[in-house]
Amino acid sequence: MNQLRVNGVTRRFGGLTALHDVSFTVEPGAIFGIIGPNGAGKTTLFNIVSGLDVPSEGEVAYGETVLTGRPPYAVAEQGLARTFQNVSVFPSMTVRENVMIGRHRHCRAGLLASCLRLPRQRREEAAQRADADRILDELAMAHLADTPVSALAFGQRRMVELARALAAEPSLLLLDEPASGLTTRETDDLAAQIRRIRERGIAVLLVEHNMSLVMDVCETILVLDFGKRIAHGAPADIRNDARVIEVYLGGERPDAAH
């Protein structure tokens, strides 16, 4: 189990500083929330942690490994998995195939073994398929396994994306606004899932505008505004922090109300 350390990360896009000297650590198995107004730099931070973007300054490390500078697939190899704010499932594939992509990093059969359909590859394929079905079963989506993702409703796609990330058996899961666009019931299901994920000892980095969800599941919360850290602490402290109330919690935001 590893600790995630974000160390003095700054990200500039031309003249815009999307992240300014952000540092924090996430302990193994912890649920860590990141909140802040639109454009605060939350997704940018996720992209940097998952290797899709590179910081202008600073670095990210996971346990002994420096993640900064590694391509995303090498970051995933370290046990990080993520979902996307705008739901990036693979629409041309079935639900099961999407989840099986999550298993990709655990597969060892080489390209030649695949092309020649060697016995070893067939056994591995069957095992991955069974694993994917088990994960779908746990998320109560077994009946959708053969459905093409393009035929699913938005909330279901979010759950497929979550299943895909869980299939990777991460030790750190990054969820970027997993509740946005979900119905109240779906959001409740999601909260239950996140708690179950914690029980398995998986650390979660959660970006979310739904305050009741964040306050409910997170142990620690980081508040960003214009790329700067303005608060950091337990939910109770964040709720009562004057600056946080001023820039984020106080003003009624349409997408914060769910």
């Binding site: 998952s50 290797g51 899709l52 391509p71 995303p72 697939y73 995933a76 190899e77 998995a81 993520r82 996307f84 705008n86 739901v87 990036s88 499932v89 693979f90 629409p91 041309s92 594939m93 195939e97 099986m100 992509i101 999550g102 298993r103 990709h104 990093r105 597969c107 059969a109 390209l111 695949s114 092309c115 020649l116 359909r117 590859q121 591995e124 394929e125 991955q128 459905t147 035929a151 699913l152 409703a153 938005f154 796609r157 895909r164 990330a165 990777a168 666009g181």
Partner: protein, 364 residues
Amino acid sequence: MRAAVRHALPMIAMTAGVVALQLVISAADRQFYMTQLVMALYYTIVVMGLCLVMGYAGQVSLGHGGFFALGGYTSAILTTRNLAAHLRPETLQTLERIGLLWSRTDLYGAPLATLAPWPAFVAALLLTGAVALILGFPALRLKGHYLAMATLGFGLIVYRMLLGSAFTGYADGITGVPPWRLAPGVTVSGAMDNRIVNYYIACGFLLFVLWFLRNLTGSRHGRALRSIHDSETAAKAMGVNTPRLKLQAFVISAVLAAAAGSFLTHFNGGIGPSEADAMKSVRYLTLVAAGGMANIWGAMGVSLALTFLSLRGVFGVYDHAVFGGLLIVIVSVAPNGPGRWVADLLRRRRPTVRSSGAAAEPAT
């Protein structure tokens, strides 16, 4: 067990179809179809390989004519270039004993020693694989259609070099490529009395490629390729080494084109520069699109039919226009392939039949 049967069934059906077609052609006394059929089979192997790159890896290659020509010309050059004068007799004998060299006398009775077809074939594959690696390595690391540009440039260079070089016989290309004896009684050549054997050789090769590509596309590597096509970002984040996988698919595809080129060169007894013409590459690309992009079966069927008709001269002077027009129609009307287009049309007719709960589209 059930899965094994499901996997084997299409291959068994295809094999039966191959035999049936041969029997029908023989019974109808249409053996003269065989020549164009064999050629269409080899060109279709190029199209199926390209399908892997375009349909699955989501990359455009305009160099597959070039790869085909590279394979064909390598085989042609190595099996016709006389080494008798360059090597000592003992060396010749040793090389011949281990099967690398092939000594005979030419038309005028002079000693002729060339590389045997097998090692020439292997050299053709290795050379083409290396060229594809060099072309693809930088191009596939970048986002966008750099591979299309790189391969277009490659195709043009190959074409011009073949046309302009004495080594490759200028516009005449290379003739006098010897038959290739694969096994006793199984020889790749265009001899009239060898047509049925060559039909089965070409079909066997095609079936192997079909089996090979279906294995690949049905495996985790095939899934990973499709995931790149759908969302490269998400694929990467899930641990798919996207640059490497795209490069592997591209190299496999180029090597398949070279293998087809090598076989067809032995079948035709020669090869010309028109094989590397950009129009050829565009034609392969059109056939992949017309087959439904990520559809090996579609690519195979459409390519076999249209290439055969084209080689039979059915399209006459409109030959290029037919393929160009097809490309325009596909791209503008049915970019996901004719199959999907028809399916969409049918669905639009009866919109209420959508399965429950599936109708809601993303809110954003």
